[in-house]
């Protein structure tokens, strides 16, 4: 190594992507660098010029523009530009100008190509957007946490199903043949939508019970029943089931609470399998998350409130153990749901059983299973259509207030927009809810939807799941056919835009202004979630989670090939960045928030965030174009 090149290579060695290069490659660069000085306001790269070099900023500052003259990026010491052109047709796509007196090191194309070939990390870094986000997202990906693994993963085969007229002996034979330990009992036809489903021939069936190994002992043999007894006569009325997208943890808790060892797993109302406690135990890891069972052991709202620090501790540990954003979001949502459920149980203990059936609905991040540690509560009540306000509302108002206050005590602050079941408007019978949704979709204006878009993330967490499913079905059927609604949602999804990136210790805005910090929720994750929601509504997806929505979207032609992957990586990275900064806040005993300060952002995170912002920005542009306001109202 020539000493005289130290100046050059030592400088480059401090900055990504050069910081990861071998000494040999660094020397190869320093050897071949060409240096040039540009005074303030002079052009470095001009549009459509031929470019055969990578540009490295040794000192000074450079602005890079789009063809139309719009600011694309502002770069400082140690940043590179020109690589997009080198990877494509060697024509300058983004002109560059010195905004301070600037010294540029030009790295010849041959050296650049060699770096790309010999160093994968370097190649990832310079390749536009996707791979870097992909790498970053994949590095975070580790699964197998019980809190986020869905129960359907534990289902290995179809359930054994017999008609209720089958003899217990026949049923026992079938169980033995299938090497199962339980059988589901079904009836043809149905007068009740609950547990009713259609088979492949279009026949309607209803699941009416389950008979397990031990039931044969206790309900058949011990009772001295004949082997020819129809199975329908021995099953219990009480059927405990779980939805296929519930977490393994929830399944386990359901078993513990109900004291059953078998759970039929349903996809909506159709049985898709049966899980046994041993399946779960086999799957259990040493996650140490006793928190959820602890929640269900609390006998008062005060007791629940005392668990708030445990939630934060669980969050920090999960992030430290390398959980990805989906795991964290899902775990925190499970915890939030558990608080809510326990509070509802406690409320029912206090207030007595509900006068009419109801469903406690959650909206926003909890419905999407994307909760963060900084969150407020968004909930509503869907009541049976038998609801009579004069007679019943007092009960439900009290119930809503009990839960809402309890949640606030546990750290889930009241919703600023008053999207809570305590608000009479959001405590209504199913028929009214249907009208709400129909009105939002049929007569949309961006203003009207501004505050109601949160209801388009909806999930049931207690009570009659069917009510929420009805609304989900309604949305999935109506939204794709409502261009005006989609246009209004799309317009609202553009209200919040990402910044351009970072420059030194500032956040760079698109107009070139600087800010000291950035709200990563408002400027990153929330607009991304909004945007994904619009596409999900357009394709009739019933998924609530943004990543699952993207899976559904990717099965359609809505987005160009690969775009949904890109969005997924970008969202994962944005969420993870927010989570990491909240963890830092907690570790440094600050109140966690959604802000990140550029000085706390590492170099590599900076570049990846910049890419993620870029993906979001491009996707927003496409949204505007994809869902234009129709010239004529449809259906009028």
């Amino acid at each position: 190594m020539d000493v005289e090149l130290l100046e050059i290579r030592q400088h480059m060695g401090q900055f990504p992507p050069f910081d990861g290069l071998s000494d040999e490659l660094l020397d190869a660069i320093a050897e071949q660098v060409e240096v040039s000085y540009f005074k303030t306001d002079s052009d470095i790269l001009t549009l459509n010029d031929t470019l055969n070099e990578l540009c490295y900023i040794r000192s000074g500052a450079v602005e890079v523009y789009r063809r139309q003259g719009e600011l694309y990026n502002r770069l400082g010491e140690g940043d590179i530009f020109g690589h997009f052109s080198l990877l494509r047709n060697h024509k300058v796509r983004f002109p560059a100008k010195a905004i301070e007196d600037t010294l540029i090191y030009f790295i010849p194309d041959a050296v650049f190509q060699r770096l790309c070939e010999e160093d994968d990390d370097f190649a990832d870094f310079v390749e536009l957007e996707r791979p870097r986000l992909e790498t970053a997202a994949e590095q975070q990906k580790k699964s197998n946490d019980m809190m986020v693994t869905r129960i359907r993963k534990l289902v290995t085969r179809y359930p054994v199903m017999v008609e209720s007229t089958t003899s217990v002996q026949q049923a026992a034979k079938q169980i033995i043949d299938a090497q199962a330990s339980a059988v589901l009992v079904i009836n043809e036809g149905s007068n009740n939508p609950r547990y009713s489903f259609q088979d492949s021939e279009g026949k309607t069936w209803q699941m009416c019970g389950i008979l397990t190994d031990s039931d044969f002992r206790t309900r058949v043999v011990a009772e001295g029943l004949s082997p020819s007894t129809p199975i329908g006569e021995v099953i219990s009325e009480r059927l405990i089931t779980i939805q296929s997208d519930a977490s393994v943890y929830e399944a386990m808790l359901t078993m513990l609470r109900s004291n059953v060892h078998h759970l039929p797993v349903l996809y909506r109302q159709r049985p898709v399998g049966v899980v046994h406690l041993s399946d779960i135990i086999r799957y259990e890891t040493h996650s140490g998350l006793y928190l959820v069972s602890n929640i269900f052991n609390q006998s008062s709202a005060q007791g629940l409130a005392k668990l708030a620090p445990d939630v934060r501790a669980a969050f920090v540990r999960m992030v430290q153990e390398g959980a990805n954003s989906q795991m964290v979001g899902s775990a925190l949502s499970t915890i939030g749901r558990s608080f809510t459920r326990r509070l509802l149980e406690l409320a029912e203990d206090t207030l007595g059983p509900p006068p009419v059936p109801y469903c406690y609905m959650v909206n926003g991040s909890m419905a999407r299973n994307e909760q963060s540690i900084v969150t407020d509560q968004d909930n509503a009540l869907i009541l049976s259509d038998d609801f009579v306000p004069e007679e019943h509302d007092e009960y439900f108002h009290a119930l809503a207030a009990f839960v809402s206050d309890g949640l606030a005590a546990c750290g889930y602050t009241y919703c600023k927009g008053d999207v809570m079941a305590t608000n009479r408007q959001w405590r209504q019978p199913l028929a009214v809810w249907k009208r709400y949704f129909q009105d939002w979709m049929a007569n949309p204006t961006p203003e009207k939807l501004l505050h109601s878009s949160i209801f388009f993330d909806l999930d049931s967490i207690y009570g009659e799941d069917l009510f929420v499913e009805t609304l989900q079905d309604l949305i999935a059927q109506t939204a794709p056919k409502s261009p005006l609604f989609l246009a209004a949602m799309a317009r609202n999804a553009l209200n919040r835009t990402p910044p351009l990136g970072f420059f030194r210790t500032f956040v760079m805005e698109k107009d070139g202004k600087h800010n000291n910090s950035i709200n990563l929720k408002r400027r990153g994750t929330a607009p991304m979630v909004d945007l994904i929601r619009v596409h999900a509504l357009a394709c009739g997806s019933k998924a609530q989670n943004s990543f699952q929505r993207l899976d559904d979207i990717s099965k359609t032609q809505l987005l160009a090939t690969g775009v949904s992957d890109k969005l997924s990586y970008a969202l994962e990275f944005l969420c993870m960045s927010r989570i990491r900064h909240q963890m830092i806040d907690l570790q440094e005993e600050r109140v966690p928030d959604n802000n990140i300060e550029p000085e706390n952002v590492e170099d590599s995170e900076r570049h990846t965030l910049k890419d993620a912002f870029q993906v979001l920005s491009n996707a927003q542009k496409f949204l505007k174009f994809r869902y234009p306001v129709p010239t004529q109202r449809q259906g009028r």
Binding site: E4, V35, S36, K39, S42, D101, L103
Partner: protein, 241 residues
Amino acid sequence: MHGIRPRQKVTQADWNGYMAARAERAQDEMLKRFFSTPMPDPETPLSEVPMVALDMETTGLDERRHGIVSIGVVPFTLGRIPMAQRRYWVVKPPRPLDEASIAYHHITHSEVADAPDLDGVLDELLAVLAGRIVVVHFRNIERPFLDAAVKARRGEGVLFPMIDTMSLEARLHRQTLWARFRRWLGRPPVSIRLNASRERYGLPPYQGHHALVDALATAELLQAQIANRYSPDTPLKAVWC
């Protein structure tokens, strides 16, 4: 060598004639080739002038008593300084190094012990300089040292036009009315040393006193000076000396 006292007498207008005359008279093969390599015309715009930044580390400041220890050169143009073309030599001075100079330019006894005499690298050096305008920071080291060293070895010296980035800075900061006014007020003069000058143009500080690093630093400084104070169309004769 009658009539030539270059340190005082060589002036801008004479350069092409002077070089031609030296080419005529030169006895040494290498020097003859050097002087007969065509120089850019004094009217050539700077953007078209091939240049070479030169820096030497010496054992002291007096060419009669001190010697050259290392030489760094980088050919360049106003547009680009290609590091691939850099050259650097350590040479053995006729007299031993003293401790003070070792501390200054970090070249040690052992490095110098194995180094060749300047005579061994002179041909290579002059080949790089030939046909290019040499750029230095403070010509009163490089010019007399090189002249004296060559004269001692080849019987005749070398003189050629140079661009001196320090004197360009001096023109701006020492010779203007404003500078004289400042001096009259008793304010310290603006520093025109290499790093201080570079700083005024937003150029990064470099670890100094390595002949090649300083040559690179000088080349960058000239690019900055021309970009800020002159123009790529400025004729060569406006800045050489």
